[in-house]
Amino acid sequence: MTGFEAVILTIVTAATPLLIAALGELVTERSGVLNLGVEGMMIVGAVTGFAGAQLTGSPYLGVCASMLGGMALASLFGFLVLRLAANQVASGLALTLLGLGLSGMIGEAFIGQPGLKLERIDIPFLTDLPVVGAILFGQDPLVYMSIALAVSVSWFLFRTRPGLALRAVGNNHDSAHMLGVHVIRTRFLAVLFGGACSGLAGGYLSLAYTPQWVEGMTAGRGWIALALVVFASWMPLRAAIGAYLFGGALILQFHAQAEGIALPSQFLSALPYLATVAALVILSRDRWTARNDSPSCLGQVFVPDR
């Protein structure tokens, strides 16, 4: 493996959890629900994924467990904000706190255990190709899945009828309701999808990125994913660009430091955030499209019978 390949592989690993979580939140927000509990669902996904893999001996079952963990928390959130019409911001923040505490409790038995790693794929001959081999054919399975997910979310939202219905619910829930779209059900499914993605992103951390369980290991990635959705102006492919840019800047600044480049490390640490914000703002600078893209019912409560 050459240095170039190693750097690209590291960047992809850093970007993937952000991308997966951002895609889930993007779909949730497109349906008009603001779920600030990404960090909480992610950390619960990390611990259930780790636990699932340790107990069954299979990292793939761990991946499933991480999605289920995220969905369990998301369904609680969905019940609160959709069924009981609770405030979305408050419920989302509560979800994060709940997730952080709950994950610590579930994970107590797993502290200090080395985890099972979701191995990178290895296709004879193809993976050994010079320069591009490891990058194109040597990633772990979730990397391919995350890219497929970005493309399919984009396709679903803008090229299918259910996607249109979901956007309609997010843009004007009253009209969508009049047209016979089941607003609450659509939103609940979108929330569940968001939960599954957040959980999966957490599972990626505890199964592929750093196969271990330590409390608080998401370390704020859920919040970065949330910010990516906004800066990507709710466009899946822009979110992918943002995630890779963020990962790229993060890794390259580490390399710059290790090379001994004389820039303050605090500035270098802030660089990924600055670069991502700047790039996504430039991408979304067209005000007309920006207005068009953001779901206008975001965060608003919908009660059909009232």
């Binding site: 240095g3 107590e108 502290i111 790693k117 271990q212 290991m217 580490f254 290790a258 605090q266």
Partner: protein, 354 residues
């Protein structure tokens, strides 16, 4: 009126536990992180468990996790004092001012603050000389490295961390004067993902031995994946990469905590300041694994030399990066210089972030 009632209620809450506190000694701990960090807070909690083990039902221990540094800490500390704790350990640098403040209001409660420098009649401070261990692993690194380059995942540019880097490199230079050290600052104490990424970057640039001043086992694990070697931090991290892990610098607070609670039990507790290292068993090396016998024996011998006071890691001549003589030949850096260290020794290939 209402206010008066509330005050009366508070006064009762204050008075009651104090009257009841006679039987078991209550020892309380305020933690900055979760017990499950497998690092800093985990080791403090091991110390708490050691107290329970040592004294059985003569003591009762209490703790609170994830206390933010700042005003929140004051509330947490005060709560323990009100609940009748006899001794409160506050285990993070940022708890210093809150501890001193609360201690003024509760002169009968004893307080112990880790890594700080403000003391009072009922506030003692304690810390550990981790740099002693870093000198030892620096020597091991220089003996075992093939590329002659080590990677250092660093947290924040504070004296504690800079001292560790200097001590590591001084140890390495004592074996190989041309030894190189690459440093990446991740600006966090705890973020497994970032720590892993930093480790990968360092290994990609030729480091074949990893060490860290951050709290998660991620860099050790990455070293294992990449087939290079590493030293654990704060606790034994061998399980995360058995083939890569040479040894670890372990913070061991158990003996200190047990001795301080014992002092409370027999009434001999006094305020003071302990900065303990190998000699006090506050810093301990994990078992040496995957090392040639002579390297392991040399490391153990060096630990003994530091323990007995025969050798000090910061013994002159020590030059800083600009080549200025900081410690004269044959002299030792005093604790004041060590506690305020804000310069790199000669040979560090990095500019210290200010």
């Amino acid at each position: 009126m209402l206010r008066a009632t509330i005050f009366a209620a508070f006064a009762m809450m204050l008075a009651l536990p104090a009257a009841q506190a006679a039987d078991p000694v209550k020892a309380a701990f305020v933690y900055v992180g979760p017990i499950g960090d497998h690092g800093w807070t985990y080791q403090h909690d091991q110390g708490r468990l050691a107290i329970e083990e040592a004294f059985g039902d003569k003591v009762e221990t209490l703790y609170v996790e994830n206390v933010a540094e700042g005003p929140d800490a004051e509330r947490a500390i005060e709560r323990f004092a009100r609940e009748g704790a006899d001794i409160v350990f506050t285990t993070s640098f940022g708890f210093m001012n809150p501890t001193v403040k609360v201690a003024k209001r509760f002169p009968d409660v004893k307080f112990e603050h880790a890594t700080g420098y403000k003391r009072a009649d009922n506030v003692a401070t304690y810390s550990a000389r981790f740099y002693e261990g870093r000198y030892v692993i620096g020597q091991i690194a220089a003996k075992m490295s093939k590329s002659g380059v080590a990677g250092y995942v660093a947290s924040f540019p504070i004296p504690e961390v800079v001292r560790g880097i200097n001590s590591f490199l001084l140890g390495a230079q004592s074996v190989n004067p041309d030894f190189k050290l690459k440093i990446v600052w991740v600006n966090t104490w705890f973020d497994p993902g970032k720590e892993a990424d930093a480790a990968k970057a360092l290994i990609d640039q030729g480091a074949d031995i990893m060490t860290q001043h951050t709290d998660s086992p991620a860099p050790v694990q990455i070293a294992g994946e990449r087939g290079v070697h590493a030293f654990g931090q704060a606790s034994d991290m061998d399980a995360f990469a058995p083939a890569a892990h040479y040894t670890a610098i372990i913070d061991d607070w158990s003996a200190y905590y047990v001795s301080r609670v014992k002092a409370v039990l027999d009434g001999s507790w006094e305020s003071g300041d302990i900065w303990g290292g190998f000699a006090e068993d506050m810093v301990v090396m994990a078992p040496y694994t995957d090392l040639p016998d002579d390297v392991a024996a040399d490391a153990a011998a060096m630990v003994e030399k530091i323990r007995s006071g025969e050798f000090h890691p910061f013994t002159g001549p020590i030059y800083d990066q600009e080549g200025a003589l900081r410690v004269k030949e044959g002299e030792r850096a005093d604790d004041g210089m060590l506690l305020g260290m804000d310069w790199y020794v000669k040979g560090v290939d990095d500019k210290l972030p200010q």
